[in-house]
């Protein structure tokens, strides 16, 4: 590995955005073509990550590290089995999103594409950062383009929705920032060295009473992003008001940042607090599953139905991750990808309907499948993937998740299975009302079936759905090493603290793992 592939993938979109600034805004097709080609090139480059990824190595690969500002703030990026697929999901979905908005975004195309590209830089940055500072910077950067995407190109209540989105997310992330400062200063006090390096932070063994507060701050930021019940209220607003591509990215990728944050930061950093809060988090995730499903059942608007289905599905993912075993976490990550694909595709389908009908209310449709047979087939596959039909990707993910949850907690698992039942209920019912039955709305007669562009962006997703459903091995095996390492890390740190409990009863007492390990050796030697 010679070329800094990760940096290239992260910053080409930024360079592209700067390039677009200098192109005349009236040449809309030129702008779109440049953005599309650029993002496709990034996707192709990112495939090389997958090919060259060593699945035996649990540590981050393609690591790049160089000093930046000092005081522990370094440019440090890399990916492991957990972030690999999230990066790939991003690079795949951004060109699809751009393609899907080719016609829909007719105003201010230039600005739209610039924000899309900035968003891609921000999202990939979040998934590759190995330095807490860098992570936080990217985490916040993603807010800005999304704020504009919803606020400028959104629906009627877009300003309310976008401000709510920004304020909710910032509320969580600012408190997380304080927690990051706290970690930073504690690391400095413990070792005398400034560091934001996430691997250095992993070594900190913190007193549980401090962990509780730090964990709460981190978990709040991530739970708002996921979103977990009861912090989900921004999501339906943002989704309904956002333009199609915005919803796709929001649901498919941005929500994953929250779950990723739990996996990368909140859980391994604060294992003791995690164990303490696990029951509550599990219950919240479960409420999210059932509440999201029930809310989806009664929605009149197709888009908000899909939005609430996201709440429900993300609940299952979080429940699986909180089961803290290999099946659960792997299933959670796999389900994140599935959810990204299937919900992204569902939003695309809703967008296709909206472009034709200029309405999203279920009652305005009916009998669409007669007019649009190809679309009906695509929509059906996406919907079944979301429901979890065997043979499609959703099934593999849900089965793994549920295996994991069963191992951890039988009651939660039994109640968690309702997600499948509810998903089947609200999605099939919606499908039936929209696609089948008699045509009640005259406008439906004029609907044209999918054009080539629409097929072009739906087809890759459909293919992936089948592939991931029929042959998941290539995906799962890449995750094994990293997931195992994560679980070991959490368990090992827990035991470490119980061993050194006596020394650490003081609130401010902290030690790094290395130090404590040495202490133990010294103590044990005379006994032998």
């Amino acid at each position: 590995m010679n070329a800094p592939i990760l940096s290239i993938i992260t910053f080409i979109p930024l360079a592209g955005a700067l390039l677009l600034i200098f192109i005349n805004k009236d040449k809309e097709n030129l702008l779109r073509t440049i953005a599309l080609i650029l993002t496709l090139v990034i996707f192709v480059i990112s495939l090389s990550l997958y090919i060259n990824f060593d699945d035996q190595n649990p540590d981050p690969q393609f690591v790049e590290k160089s000093s930046w500002i000092g005081y522990g703030i370094n440019y440090h990026i890399g990916i492991d089995g957990i972030s690999l697929f999230l990066v790939l999901l991003t690079t795949l979905l951004i060109p699809i999103a751009i393609l899907s908005s080719w016609k829909y975004i007719g105003k201010r195309v230039k600005e739209y594409l610039i924000f899309m590209l900035l968003l891609e830089t921000g999202i990939i940055g979040v998934f590759v950062s190995l330095n807490l500072f860098l992570f936080y910077v990217f985490w916040e950067i993603t807010l800005v383009p999304m704020y504009f995407l919803i606020g400028i190109w959104g629906g009627k209540r877009r300003i309310y929705a976008t401000i709510k989105y920004v304020l909710f997310t910032m509320f969580g992330s600012l408190l997380m920032l304080v927690a990051i400062f706290f970690l930073y200063s504690m690391y400095y006090k413990a070792t005398g060295v400034y560091s934001f390096n996430i691997f250095d932070m992993y070594k900190l063994v913190l007193n549980p009473s401090i962990q509780v507060w730090l964990f709460l701050a981190f978990a709040l930021a991530f739970a708002i992003k996921v979103p977990m019940f009861p912090f989900h209220t921004w999501l339906p607003d943002a989704h309904v008001e956002a333009p199609t591509a915005g919803s796709v990215i929001l649901a498919a990728i941005l929500l994953k940042m929250g779950a990723y944050g739990f996996l990368r930061f909140a859980m391994p950093l604060f294992p003791d607090a995690l164990t303490k809060f696990l029951p509550y988090l599990g219950v919240l995730a479960l409420i999210g599953i059932i509440y999201g499903g029930l809310m989806a059942l009664i929605q009149k608007d197709v888009k908000s139905l899909v939005a609430y289905s996201s709440v429900s599905h993300m609940g299952l993912i979080m429940l699986a991750i909180f089961s803290l075993n290999v099946e659960g976490i792997q299933g959670g990550i796999y389900q994140m990808l599935n959810h990204g694909l299937s919900t992204g595709a569902l939003f695309l389908c809703v967008g296709i309907l909206y472009e034709r009908a200029h309405t999203r209310l279920i009652k305005d449709f009916g009998g669409v499948s007669k007019q649009m047979p190809v679309f009906a087939a695509f929509f059906l596959i996406c919907m079944l993937s979301s429901v979890g039909l065997p043979g499609l990707n959703g099934f593999v993910g849900e089965i793994l998740c549920l295996f994991g949850i069963f191992k951890a907690n039988m009651v939660l698992a039994i109640l968690g299975v309702t997600t499948v039942i509810l998903a089947a209920a609200y999605l099939l019912w919606m499908f039936q009302r929209v696609m089948h039955g008699p045509i009640t709305n005259d406008r439906v007669h004029n609907f044209k079936d999918l054009n080539k562009r629409e097929i072009a962006y739906l087809l890759p997703i459909i293919i992936l759905m089948f592939w991931m459903g029929l042959y998941p091995q290539p995906f799962l095996r890449k995750m094994d090493a990293s997931v195992n390492k994560l679980i070991n890390q959490i368990n090992q740190k827990k035991t470490l603290f119980t061993e050194t409990k006596k020394e650490s009863e003081l609130l401010w007492d902290i030690k790094t793992i290395e130090n404590t390990a040495e202490d133990h050796q010294e103590k044990e030697e005379p006994v032998q």
Binding site: E111, E140, V144, V166, S185
Partner: protein, 478 residues
């Protein structure tokens, strides 16, 4: 080193100011921009002297004027501020019917007052500098003679500023009574010898802090700010929002930095400042929410920023304070420059409604203004984020966690009103026609420089941090 060199920056400014005044009287020309160029030349010479003296510790007048790196750093920041303010004033003055040549002379004099304040550690000398600054400021605030708001601003500023000066002098007298000296170092040394602060010393110190509290506009001494900021000519508002604040904080650093380490009972002062800081952040941001006039909103935002800076004072982290000022200089002048850009002959657009649709109509002004607002709100990768980051992380390191939580929540509130301007600029349809005078190259230069500054400081601040480090290590307490 005792050397006449210490006088050069000051002398340059005063010569420049006098020259501008003489030229103004003797050359009768309608167009006064040449005066601006002359004063910029003198400002640059002054800046050159400051850079030359870096690291040389020049002093004069029995050390009453002492150019340590700390003083030089603030001097350079203030000189840059004045240059930028002069640049944004050039067109503004002729457009807004305030075409008077004294303007530039007064700016130079105000700057000389500030240089005296930052480069002395004798309270009497600091007071003299303050008065030089204040006299010029009162006049500058009231420069639009025919405008009621401007006159109101001048009068309010004058009355409340006089009160503040009176507090300061009273406090000074009490401190002198306790310690027989007006030098900060001697006063603090005297505190060392006492087992506890006498009431007189305590009152003296408190009154001095109150006096400076007016200048830096912290709650509850902020009442004058919104009216003065709204009434004063906009470039002067930009100047007020940075200059007096910077010197106020510089003096507070000189006064309080040694005080934390020696004096008994410093907890009382500490907790008072803690409360002031928290109140400033909360009240500044909350009231800004309700403003519809951009200048008033920026006034309250500057109050809120003073609150964040107080956090830096409390955490005794001078370098984060100085970094914050450099960033604040660029983002705030940038924001005001964008506000000035939206104006034409005899008309300024200052209401939120005027900004509807500006972002697409004037994409460059809109985009740069948006960057400054994101920076003020503290979004990465702008300098505003890094500045807050340093201040708050230093505060957490010193154990001020609850203050930092108040601070970040207050800045969450600030996100709302900063973004509200962006909402108007980009997400609302214009309700009425807004046409502006675009022939203003100096202003666009400033916008560009500030944009560059905000991004450079946010992404690659390395050099500045190095300079700040040198400056902090040199702080002299004579």
């Amino acid at each position: 080193m005792n050397s006449l060199n210490a006088m050069f920056p000051l002398l340059t400014l005063i010569v420049g100011a006098l020259l501008v005044l003489i030229l103004e009287v003797s050359i009768k020309r309608e167009n006064k921009t040449y005066l601006a160029f002359i004063s910029i030349i003198f400002l640059m010479i002054c800046g050159f002297f400051c850079v030359q003296s870096w690291g040389k510790d020049f002093s004069y007048f029995n050390n009453h004027l002492y150019l340590d790196n700390f003083a030089l750093f603030f001097s350079i920041v203030l000189i840059i501020t004045t240059i930028l303010v002069t640049l944004i004033s050039m067109k503004y003055l002729s457009l807004q019917n305030t075409n008077v040549g004294e303007y530039y002379a007064l700016l130079l004099l105000a700057l000389s007052g500030m240089l005296i304040m930052v480069s002395s550690s004798d309270l009497i000398v600091i007071f003299l500098g303050l008065e030089v600054l204040s006299m010029s400021s009162y006049t500058l605030a009231g420069l639009k003679r025919d405008d009621q708001k401007s006159s109101e601003a001048a009068l309010k500023y004058f009355l409340l500023g006089s009160f503040a000066s009176a507090f300061l002098v009273y406090g000074l007298a009490l401190l002198y009574g306790v310690s027989n000296s007006t030098s900060i170092a001697v006063i603090i040394d005297h505190f060392k010898t006492e087992s506890s602060l006498s009431f007189m010393a305590f009152a003296g110190l408190g009154l001095v802090i109150v006096g400076f509290g007016f200048k830096i506009a912290v709650v509850p001494f902020h009442m004058w700010t919104p009216d003065v900021y709204q009434g004063a000519p906009t470039p002067i508002t930009a100047f007020f929002s940075i200059g007096p604040k910077a010197v106020g904080f510089a003096v507070l650093v000189r006064l309080l930095y040694p005080f934390w380490h020696v004096a008994y009972d410093s907890e009382v002062i500490f907790s008072l400042l803690w409360i002031i800081s928290a109140l400033t952040m909360i009240i500044g941001n909350l009231i800004a929410l309700r403003q519809t006039n951009i200048k008033r909103m920026l006034a309250y935002s500057s109050i809120a920023h003073a609150g964040y800076l107080m956090v830096a004072i409390l955490s005794q982290d001078t370098s984060s304070l100085m970094f914050y000022f450099v960033v604040y200089l660029f983002m705030n002048i940038g924001a005001f420059a964008a506000v000035i850009a939206l104006g034409k002959k005899d008309k300024e657009y200052l209401e939120l409604d005027d900004y509807a649709g500006i972002g697409f109509k004037y994409p460059w002004i809109g985009a740069t203004f948006a960057v400054f607002l994101f920076s003020l709100a503290g979004f990465p990768p702008t300098g505003g984020f890094l500045a807050k980051f340093y201040v708050f992380s230093a505060a957490v390191r010193e154990g001020l966690v609850s203050l930092v939580i108040i601070g970040v929540l207050a800045s969450l509130v600030s996100v709302y009103y900063y973004l509200r301007i962006i909402v108007y600029m980009y997400m609302r349809e214009p309700t009425h026609e807004v046409d502006i005078n675009l022939e203003n190259p100096a202003l666009f230069l400033v916008l560009f420089l500030c944009l560059y500054g905000v991004l450079q400081l946010g992404i690659f601040p390395g050099n500045i941090l190095l300079i700040i480090k040198q400056a902090v290590s040199s702080i002299a307490f004579l």
